[in-house]
């Protein structure tokens, strides 16, 4: 399976890349890590006439902290995100989610920008971004704009990015103290896409659940926020009854499909199971953190 022919450009700046996107309209595809795009091209499932390789734009590879925000350039490799000291301390949920993506060889090339722009509903990073209430920065011919995680994912492999926009940066609020976070998923084998995945960020206040955010993947056309489950836990705390109710709320809120790996029923059920486990574990971690 070999890719079809394409015109190849490798700009050195964001401005050049955006210029290329504008010139080719919807016909060009951004090549970042290539771990999602190249399989599709090898299988000839996508046939972009123009490929814009952004790997030479060194200005897009950074991880910085500024004013309560962790900013990652779009070209931050998933391996770097998972192992970064800054990410592990400031937004551990993101590091944990990144570590779940595929295998090391995939993470060496795959980028956080590419992963989010690809918008695979089974992918871990989008679910984490939802739970972190992060956002992305996109640059287009008309300038720069910010897209909140809640608005970013439109459908399976479909994001809110315009065909002429380049995702340049990912921003997440720095996780405050007293928080615990965890990413759990069920997959058929190590490194496979999640059949269901849950990202939980929980802020603990003594015995209370001050704030909890839950993002899920693999159980809908996009990653989803489990707002009803969050409300239940914030209201009642992390009790057995509340966990059970939260699991039921998750089961009702998700919209999974059948496929060859698992049925929708299974995914729905497991999303609930994982929510309980993830919240309980996040609670424990927040307890340790708070001391």
């Amino acid at each position: 399976m070999k890719p079809p022919a394409f015109r190849y450009v490798d700009p050195r700046s964001v401005a050049d890349a955006v210029g290329q996107l504008q010139e080719h309209g919807g016909g060009a595809k951004i090549l970042a890590g290539g771990q999602s795009l190249l399989p599709l091209m090898n299988l000839r499932l996508v046939r972009p006439p123009v490929v814009i390789d952004i790997n030479r734009i060194s200005a897009l590879a950074y991880i910085r902290e500024t004013a309560g925000v962790l900013a990652l350039g779009a070209l931050s490799r998933l391996h770097a995100v998972a192992g970064s000291d800054a990410v592990t301390r400031r937004a551990p949920l993101l590091a944990e989610a990144a570590a779940h993506v595929g295998h090391l060889a995939i993470r060496h090339r795959g980028t956080i920008g590419g992963n989010l722009a690809h918008a695979d509903p089974a992918s871990e990073i989008p679910a984490a971004l939802l739970a972190l209430e992060g956002e992305v920065v996109a640059r287009g011919p008309r300038g720069e704009r910010t897209i909140a995680a809640a608005d970013l994912f439109r459908g399976p492999l479909s994001s809110a990015l315009d065909p002429t926009e380049l995702l340049t940066e990912v921003r997440v609020p720095i996780t405050p103290s007293g928080c615990g976070s965890v990413f759990l998923e069920v997959s058929r084998r190590a490194g496979d896409f999640a059949l269901a995945g849950v990202a939980v960020l929980l802020q603990r206040d003594g015995g209370q659940c001050a704030r909890v955010r839950i993002g899920v993947c693999g159980v809908g056309n996009t990653p989803l926020r489990m707002r009803e489950a969050e409300r239940i836990l914030e209201r009642s705390g992390v009790t057995e009854d509340a966990l059970r109710a939260a699991a039921r709320a998750v089961e009702q809120a998700v919209a999974p499909s059948d496929d060859t790996q698992a049925s929708a029923d299974y995914r729905r059920h497991v999303a609930g199971v994982l929510t309980v486990r993830a919240v309980a574990q996040a609670w424990q971690r927040a307890g340790r953190e708070g001391r």
Binding site: Y8, L38, P39, L43, A105, R109
Partner: protein, 165 residues
């Protein structure tokens, strides 16, 4: 439009593979694995799936393991690539290769080059990995012959031998 499309049909790349410098011309769509195998004649890197799942095409690019089927050759311009052919030196097997031999960690040998490079990288980053860490590291390299346990033993043995050296 058509003229511009024809302009960009080939690219020159310069890279090092196993320490040897190459200056070649490739189509942008040429996959790194095909470039290594067919253009450079380094057939030790194998093709098993062409969508990044099986790990047979694993090579090191600037010291990091990657799927050569998910990289374009043009993306390796300026890089240093290591393939299985770069492990042995002057006909002398690398300790990992010796250990694989000693511990019967291969049968058909098709996954072996990718497996060796993945293990090589692991031992660069983790001097004495536990069996679970080894299994985790090689979980992206499919093997249909061995059932993996001799590979784990071979990697452990290599780590322990180098620890004693």
């Amino acid at each position: 439009m058509a003229k511009r499309a024809r302009e960009a049909t080939v690219r020159e790349i310069e890279l090092k593979v196993n320490g040897i410098a190459y200056h070649e011309t490739v189509e942008p769509r040429r996959l790194l694995v095909d470039f290594l195998r067919d253009d450079l004649g380094l057939t030790g890197t194998h093709i098993g799936c062409e969508y990044g799942v099986c790990g047979a095409c694993t090579v090191l690019v600037d010291g990091q393991s990657v799927r050569a089927c998910l990289m374009l050759a043009v993306q390796a311009d300026g890089a240093e690539v290591t393939t299985v052919e770069g492990l042995a030196r002057d006909g002398k097997l690398h300790p990992l290769q010796e250990a694989f031999w000693e511990h019967h960690a291969l049968q058909c040998g098709f996954c072996t080059p990718g497996m060796l490079l993945t293990a090589y990288e692991l031992l660069q980053n983790n001097r004495n990995p536990e069996p679970d860490a080894i299994r985790d590291a090689i979980a992206g390299n499919l093997c249909r012959c061995t059932g993996y346990q001799n590979i784990v033993t071979a990697v452990q043995a290599t780590a322990q031998a180098s620890g004693r050296a």
